[in-house]
Amino acid sequence: MAAALIQAVDDRQPHLLRLPVQQGSASALEEVRYALGSRHIRAGSVVLEAGRWPLRLPELRQLQELLAPLRLDLIRVAGDHPETLVAAAALGLEIDPGPPQTIAAPAPAVVASDLLVHRGTLRSGDHLQAEGSVLLLGDVNPGARISAAGNVLVWGRLRGIAHAGVAGDRNARIVALQLRPLQLRIADMVARGPEGLPPPGLAEQALLVDGEIRIDPAAPDFSG
């Protein structure tokens, strides 16, 4: 994966320059040069997400020089490597050490091994079952069922029946962009879905708390 430049949607936000996970022999600068390519980028400020790259003073300077002709101004550096942060601070840039513990690295490995991803809407009568966790990109219509030994994640509206922790995992949860199921089941507990529409734009999750199924806004750090 190469470096990525994520352009700002308006003038007030900085562009985001994200370095890839370090591998091979390419230097950070080569990655950035590749990402910039011959694209036309609106002049403005840039935030560098360096990840685990160790960037020293000269490298950051070179990066600034590379951005200067494009009228892009490096203002902040985020990263995990102390060397990078020290160098950035020495150049008078803002620094952002990022979250103390990396969430991205260990999580995908675990999730990828037993996550079933299904694209499409489950219609009445359909039943999607998963041995691990399941991620549905679509709706679960009334009359349809989705069940998993692990978590049930619905990137869409959940209006049918959802069962997480089929094999008895009481820590399993059900997450949906719109959680309005006919019935919810976690392990051996059953609950009817809530009535009325949820507040818009808020994902919700159901989990077992003290032996009862409770629905809360989904935690933003949730990762499978």
Partner: protein, 277 residues
């Protein structure tokens, strides 16, 4: 009519899952409407256990042979096709005799539809209710489908199931007709709204048919509404569906909203002309 065949026939299944939502009425009216637009149309009654497409078209007394005899080669296809009196572009093919429930298989259906398709622009298959063998037979030969439903939870639920089955069979495109719409009840939210239905079914809407007493009258008389073109709202809706199927761009209006608009416009007019309020 020219014997030159151009595009392959469109073979459209008309189904709903639930019974009594208007499959047969839609098939009959759509058949007439398409025929009137100059399309050679064959309507096939796949609901041969309880067939009544012939009743709606007023052709009951003219059926001599059925698809069954054609497949058994005891008659030619032309003999089994019942031409409509007033609308020669339309022909009915009854699938079989109500007493012979066993004979039809999906392969039979594919064979007969392929024969019919050679001499038609449109083949409309009137599907029986349910999702068992009758549905499987009828769906076997269809390329595309129209799912018809009413704004009721049970009809929508069954339609959803049918759409799922059609998707797994690779029938596409599947379009939606919403039947027996009561604009006033929709506006007052006593009935499922158009959005509620399309929200669940997630299909392109090809027609909205308002509840219309004329449908009952025409059904009993054996003359589809689109035949005499008496301008009733339902007749208009069926004609529009036919034209949309042919690719014409006719905007769909949500009647529960259109009605409000009309009333508002009338009130405005009264206000202007009288200067009363």
């Amino acid at each position: 009519m020219d014997a030159v065949t151009s595009a392959p026939a469109r073979i459209i299944l008309i189904c709903s899952g639930k019974g009594g939502v208007g499959k047969t009425t839609l098939t009959a009216n759509l058949g007439i409407a398409l025929a009137r637009l100059g399309e050679r149309t064959v309507v096939l009654d796949a609901d041969f256990g309880l067939r009544n497409l012939d009743l709606l078209l007023g052709l009951e007394n003219r059926i001599v042979y059925t698809a069954q005899e054609v497949l058994a080669e005891t008659c030619r296809l032309e003999q089994a096709l019942v031409k409509h009196k007033q609308e020669p572009n339309l022909a009915l093919l009854p699938a079989g005799n109500p007493r012979m429930l066993e004979w039809l298989t999906p392969e039979d259906m594919q064979r007969i539809v392929a024969m019919v398709a050679e001499r038609a622009d449109y083949v409309l298959i009137d599907c029986p209710a349910g999702i068992e063998d009758g549905f499987k037979n009828a769906a076997a030969a269809a390329r595309e489908a129209i799912v018809i439903t009413t704004p009721e939870v049970s009809a929508v639920r069954d339609a959803d199931r049918v759409i799922g089955l059609l998707n797994t069979r690779g029938v596409a495109p599947v379009q939606l007709v919403l039947n027996r719409v009561r604009p006033r009840m929709m506006a007052s939210q006593e009935m499922l709204g158009v959005d509620d239905v399309t929200d669940i079914l997630a299909l392109p809407l090809v027609g909205l048919v308002v509840e219309d007493e004329q449908v009952i009258v025409s059904t009993n008389r054996g003359e589809p509404l689109t035949l005499n073109g008496n301008g009733s709202p339902a007749a208009k809706a069926y004609q529009n569906i036919a034209r949309r199927l042919r690719g014409e761009d006719i905007p769909l209006e949500d009647p529960s909203k259109a009605r409000k608009g009309l009333r508002a416009r009338l009130m405005n007019k009264i206000r202007k002309t009288t200067g009363l309020f």
